[in-house]
């Protein structure tokens, strides 16, 4: 392929990890990789995205509080309409990424492939891999119509590697008129205070599920995570029940984690949970049900009560100092 665009998301600390993963993946399949970004200070990421292979950043600019879906998709659609179309567009499977992909798909009348965890090339065409049924089967798919194809890729599917490129050239692009579709505005942001490593970057993740029995027992999970210098995570069941904030959720609709060790406490191992943690290097599970599906992916499974095993584990780790 000649050219792939990567939707580059930015956090306070620069491009998000998944952005760098997608730039790396794009390099393997195209001779030219370019990024599309937005925000008040896109110039500040030109160095980093350049280091990961982008030669150009299309900068949609500051969105003045508008949700990015409509204006960023409109900017990309305008570039494509002007004849400046890439062969493929890679989009991170994040909240804003999915919004942009959806808008863009309808604007360009092009289908989307989502939940992608791998790419391959055959006959000069890109094929995608995505797990189904909790990752027991892998489906390989491809587009059959005109490009550019829109590919929505899950975080942690690729390892980010530098290419050693220089800073990308920043090219301003206008979002154009989005009319009513761009009318959703952020009026206030609420950021939860977090301490310790980030859930999707921690070397150890300790997650709790409904088997903890009551919200106050989540403190055991937090304590164990702290002792192992890791991050606490959760199944969706206890997020939905309001025990812990959504930012803790691991799984299909939460975060994908690939720590060195994942400890699942009172989690059954539903397929939607497994897709978010199966890539962990080592998995330890504590569950009182011997038949729990989580044991089928565990390196060490303890059939037991979290209310006995966790306090004992915390005690032993503490006594080691």
């Amino acid at each position: 392929m000649d050219r792939i665009w990567v939707l580059a998301e930015t956090a306070e600390s620069g491009p998000t990890p998944v952005t760098l993963e997608l730039l790396t993946a794009a390099r393997a399949h195209a001779s030219t990789v370019e990024a599309v970004a937005w925000g008040p200070d896109t110039a500040s990421i030109a160095g980093t995205v350049g280091e990961y292979g982008a030669t150009k950043v299309y900068d949609v600019g500051d969105l003045a509080g508008a949700l990015p879906g409509a204006p960023v998709a409109a900017a990309i659609a305008a570039l494509v309409a002007s004849g400046d179309a890439p062969d493929a567009i890679f989009v991170p499977a994040s909240y804003d990424g999915r919004d942009i992909a959806g808008r863009l798909s309808a604007k360009l009348d092009r289908p989307v492939l989502t939940n992608i965890t791998g790419f391959a090339q055959g006959d000069g065409q890109l094929t995608t891999e995505h797990p189904v049924f909790g990752g027991t089967l892998v489906v390989t798919a491809r587009f059959t119509g005109d490009g550019p194809g829109i590919f929505v890729v899950r975080a942690k599917s690729f390892t980010a590697e530098r290419s050693g490129g220089g800073p990308a050239e920043v090219v301003a692009v206008a979002p154009g008129d989005v009319g009513a579709t761009g009318a959703a505005k952020i009026v206030e942001r609420h950021v939860e205070a977090a301490s310790g490593p980030k859930l999707d970057e921690a070397a150890v993740v300790v997650s709790g599920g409904r088997g903890l029995g009551a919200p106050e027992h989540y403190a055991l999970v937090e304590e164990l995570a702290r002792l192992l210098h890791g991050a606490p995570g959760a199944s969706r069941a206890i997020v939905d029940a309001g025990w812990v904030p959504y930012s803790h959720q691991v799984g299909q609709t939460g975060k994908t984690v690939k720590p060195t060790v994942y400890v699942a406490c009172g989690i059954s191992g539903a397929t939607q949970h497994l897709v978010g943690m199966k890539g962990s290097k080592h998995i330890v599970a504590i569950n009182k049900d011997q038949e729990a599906p989580i044991f089928s992916v565990s390196d060490l499974g303890i059939v037991g009560d979290v209310h006995k095993v966790l306090p004992a584990l915390i005690e032993q780790l503490k006594s080691r100092g």
Binding site: A11, L67, G69, A73, Y95, R98, D99, G102, S105, A106, K107, R110, P111, V112, T114, T127, L137, V138, V139, A141, R142, F143, T144, G145, V152, T181, A183, A184, K185, I186, V187, E188, R189, H190, E192, A194, V204, V239, D240, S247, T260, V261, K278, H282, V284, Q290, F295, S296, V297, S298, L300, G301, I302, V303, G304, K308, V309, A312, Q316, L317
Partner: protein, 259 residues
């Protein structure tokens, strides 16, 4: 306020899923039920409509085979009527084709607010509602964990990576809700009886002015080229805790040099 809720009728997720070996699409034989993910949207719609005099909740769905059992569940919860687009040509539709069909169907109810789940339980593409918003020319707010309306303004707490944003947007608009936003009511006996006589308009794609080439397998413009077994992650040692469970975990972590 006219509220439209997009729902999907799916095979019971408790039953193991299967792919059709020739078409590689999900096998949809057997009874379909209301996707649990959609029960939150239905509940949300009923609550929002309940706050505004003269509101009506319409359920919109698409199915290749005229299936209505999931729609009856939504009607039994309290929705006024349903529009079902049912056509053989719809089999194998992708998210964009689905959005085209549902947008055309939703227009018939002149919606002020369209509610959908963030993603379906069985397909989980997670783009359909936004594609639909674009086709309807409406703004959209996805991943809502709290929703209210104030006159013609929609107010949403939208989940983010690190917390949530307060988002406002004028109606008409599309909103997607996550599970857990509200507690879906169980249909009462009275509700179930009433649902039997509530109207379900069954439309073909021709009724909506759509062409068979735009939907179904023909409209999807993507194909599955292979389905293979994923590399299995072997399960390791499973031991019953005899008071030594914690000890074993410590030993395991030591061996990995985590402690």
């Amino acid at each position: 306020m006219n509220v439209v809720v997009c729902v999907k009728q799916i095979p019971d997720p408790a039953a193991p899923g299967a792919l059709d070996p020739s078409t590689h699409t999900l096998v949809r034989s057997g009874k379909l039920i209301l996707d649990d993910s959609d029960s939150y949207g239905v509940e949300m719609a009923l609550q929002l409509a309940g706050n505004v005099e003269g509101s009506e909740v319409t359920i919109v769905s698409m199915a290749p085979n005229g299936e209505t059992s999931g729609l009856r569940t939504a009607l039994a919860m309290g929705a006024a009527r349903a529009i079902l687009v049912s056509d053989d040509a719809l089999a194998g539709s992708d998210a964009l084709s689905t959005a085209k069909v549902l947008a055309a169907a939703a227009r018939r109810a002149a919606p002020d607010l369209v509610i959908a789940a963030t993603e379906s339980t069985d397909g989980y593409t997670g783009t359909m509602p936004v594609q639909m918003a674009e086709l309807l020319g409406m703004p959209s707010v996805t991943f809502a964990k709290r929703v209210s309306t104030d006159g013609t303004t929609l107010k949403v707490e939208r989940q983010t990576e690190s917390g949530y944003d307060d988002v406002e947007c004028p109606l008409p608009a599309v909103v997607t809700v996550t599970a857990g936003v509200v507690e879906p009511r169980y249909p009462s006996f009275k509700g179930i009886m009433a649902a039997k006589s509530k109207p379900i308009d069954v439309l073909s794609i021709g009724d909506l002015g759509l062409d068979a080439g735009q939907v179904g397998r023909a409209g999807a413009r993507q194909e599955v080229v292979d389905v293979s077994e994923a590399e299995a992650r072997g399960s390791g040692e499973i031991v019953v805790d005899e008071g030594d469970g914690a000890q074993r975990i410590v030993a395991f972590l030591e061996q990995l040099k985590v402690v």
